[in-house]
């Protein structure tokens, strides 16, 4: 290891190239992951923010809230099978922020266990109160606790709470079912008379027999949280597409690191032959290459991480990037493993170096 560390210390320029390449790849992976996480979590918070085990939709909804409707009679029928502990309704509305900026809002009316349990500041609005809880991502638009959001051609709603990870596609606000209904009727008068109609109800249970019973009891369709998320248009596809791009990026990283160390091994063939001749084993030589790959990968990650976070700070507010610790850890682990795999390219080459070539000027 002494040799490996001394080489890193004294030939920094050479290793700066590979650290730079790894840093660039890590930067790309982190930015892509942040965009993927932002897109995915920003669309799925509605299902994950509450304490729901099962959602019940109307049968022909295809598990889409906008296409689902359950009236009070349906809710009563479901209640007879399992306690209905919450309900959801959603609308997409145009609104303006206090500084006059336009917003495309997802307004979610919720009750009971369907309400977000991630309120970090403020409170949940009282029934019928012209107030909302905002998904904390909306702060990037300059909306905060105490702000007033004005629905276009509709009421003004005061922000009384902030919830984390509670998004649903667009900029998201949550409110009581009553306020949700009152607001959408002001904007779309044709919906008057649909008081008491919700789009889905929430059960705490995730019991399969209960789900089966509800599915068979009437024109209903049940879904677990993960099934509800999977049914969101494009959410899963977006995630898998971005994951594929990130994975491809790391494949490139493995090849780049592999080529780098393969070339270095080729260049140092004479030196390795001499070291073998004077008694250094192949494993020890390869251990040095592995240590160098490890350090180069870790340093590359550090540089890429700082660069990505720096860019994250200046991204426009409407870019849904979310830097998650678990994604960063995943990228870090992948970077290290990729670096080590890349170094493996050199293993056979080092084994094949004949120490006898150190003599006779053959090298």
């Amino acid at each position: 290891m002494t040799l490996a560390f001394a080489e890193l210390r004294r030939t920094r320029g050479r290793f700066a190239a590979i650290v730079g390449a790894v840093a660039f790849i890590v930067f790309l992976a982190l930015i892509l992951s942040a965009l993927g996480d932002g897109l995915y979590l920003g669309q799925t918070g509605i299902y994950r923010a509450g304490d729901t085990g099962t959602y019940v939709y109307s049968e022909d909804s295809g598990l889409g809230l906008a296409r689902s409707g359950l009236d009070s009679e349906a809710v009563d029928q479901i209640s007879r099978i399992a306690p209905v502990e919450g309900a959801l309704g959603t609308s997409t509305l145009a609104a303006t922020t206090p500084d006059g900026s336009e917003l495309q809002l997802s307004m979610i009316g919720a009750s009971g266990i369907a309400r977000p349990n991630t309120i970090v500041e403020g409170r949940w609005p009282a029934d019928g109160e012209s107030a909302v809880v905002i998904d904390s991502q909306l702060r990037r638009r300059g909306v905060d606790l105490g702000s007033v959001i004005t629905i276009v051609d509709g009421p003004s709603l005061e922000v009384v709470g902030l919830a984390n990870d509670a998004g649903y596609g667009f900029d998201t606000v949550w409110t009581s079912l009553d306020t949700w209904h009152d607001t959408r009727v002001v904007v779309r008068p044709e919906l008057a008379g649909l008081e008491g109609v919700v789009q889905a109800v929430a059960l705490r249970t995730s019991s399969e027999p209960i789900r089966t019973a509800i599915d068979q009891a009437g024109p209903y369709q049940t879904a677990s949280v993960s099934e509800a998320i999977a049914a969101l248009p494009a959410a899963e596809q977006q995630r898998s597409t971005i994951d594929a791009i990130v994975n491809t990026t790391f494949l490139v990283a493995a090849i780049v690191i592999g080529l780098f160390f393969a070339l270095i091994t080729l260049e140092k063939r004479n030196q390795f032959a001499v070291l073998k001749a004077i008694g250094m084993g192949s494993r020890r030589l390869f251990g040095g290459v592995l240590a160098q790959a490890l350090i180069a990968s870790a340093a590359g990650f550090a540089v890429g991480f700082v660069a990505a976070r720096g860019v994250g700070l200046v991204l426009p507010a409407d870019v849904p990037a979310l830097f998650l610790t678990e994604s960063a850890l995943s990228v870090f682990a992948t970077t290290i493993v990729t670096g080590l795999l890349g170094a493996l390219f050199s293993f056979r080459r080092i084994l094949k170096i004949d120490p006898a070539t150190a003599l006779g000027g053959a090298t």
Binding site: M1, T2, L3, A6, E7, R9, R10, T11, N270, Q271, V274, L275, K276, A277, I278, G279, M280, G281, R284, D354, P355, A356, A358, L359, G360, G361, A362
Partner: protein, 239 residues
């Protein structure tokens, strides 16, 4: 000083010699394409003896040196160094044996370019079985004796050709090996410097009671050796 040299079909050297080579043969290839690079070489080198190995290109001198250094497996024959038959050791054992018992001086210096002069010697602490402190103390002493005390912290690129070769000599001696193998030490040096380096080598080998073999094509260097072995077409003879 006792020197022994035996040609084919003569009794091998006694086991008291530092190096005893017996019937050493290396054949490359098989059947009609077989080439005999070294043919039944038998010789010995005592401690405190510096032997020259002369021969034209392709005569087998590098093959012979490689086998004696445990870098190449002979087809036949034995190589005893300090009582150990090198030919009976596994590859891994040979590697370890080289680290502890054989010092190499290569042509073109072959120092590790990113290690200082001192580190090029102390790197042997992580290769041989000798205690690090012992190697470090010996490295400092050798550097002083070789006139490199002031240059110990310089990288090879900051040293002259002669200084580099002196560092290489120090590396070969730092583990206090029984046998020193020297490969064309003047190849990268001008005549004056080459002569000085070979004189230094001869002096150090003899002063420290080592057995030394120097491969060279330069007849002018022969005068600094105790005796000369000549190899032509794989056949060894004494001048």
């Amino acid at each position: 000083m006792t020197t022994t040299l035996e040609t084919n079909h003569t009794p091998p050297p006694t086991t008291g010699t530092a190096l005893a080579v017996s019937d050493l043969t290396k054949i490359y290839g098989e059947g009609r394409t077989a080439v005999t690079a070294v043919d039944g070489a038998t010789f010995g080198v005592e401690g405190n003896e510096f032997v020259g190995l002369l021969g034209p290109s392709g005569s087998g001198k590098t093959t012979l040196l490689s086998m004696v250094g445990g870098l190449l497996t002979p087809t036949e024959g034995t190589i005893h160094i300090g009582g150990t038959d090198l030919t009976t050791l596994s590859k891994r054992e040979q590697t370890r044996f080289r680290a502890n018992n054989i010092g190499f001086v290569f042509q073109s210096f072959n120092l590790v370019p990113f290690l200082t002069a001192r580190e090029n010697l102390t790197v042997m602490a992580s290769i041989s079985d000798a205690p690090r402190k012992q190697i470090e103390a010996r490295a400092d002493q050798l550097l002083e004796e070789l006139g490199l005390g002031e240059r110990r912290n310089n990288l090879p690129e900051q040293l002259s050709g002669g200084e580099r070769q002196r560092v290489a000599i120090g590396r070969a001696l730092v583990t206090d090996p029984a046998l020193i193998l020297v490969d064309e030490p003047t190849a990268s040096l001008d005549t004056e410097l080459g002569t000085a380096v070979v004189k230094l080598l001869a002096r150090e080998v003899k002063k420290r009671g080592k057995a030394g073999i120097m491969v060279t094509h330069d007849l002018r260097m022969v005068e600094f050796t105790d005796r000369t072995l000549r190899i032509v077409d794989g056949a060894l003879s004494q001048e």
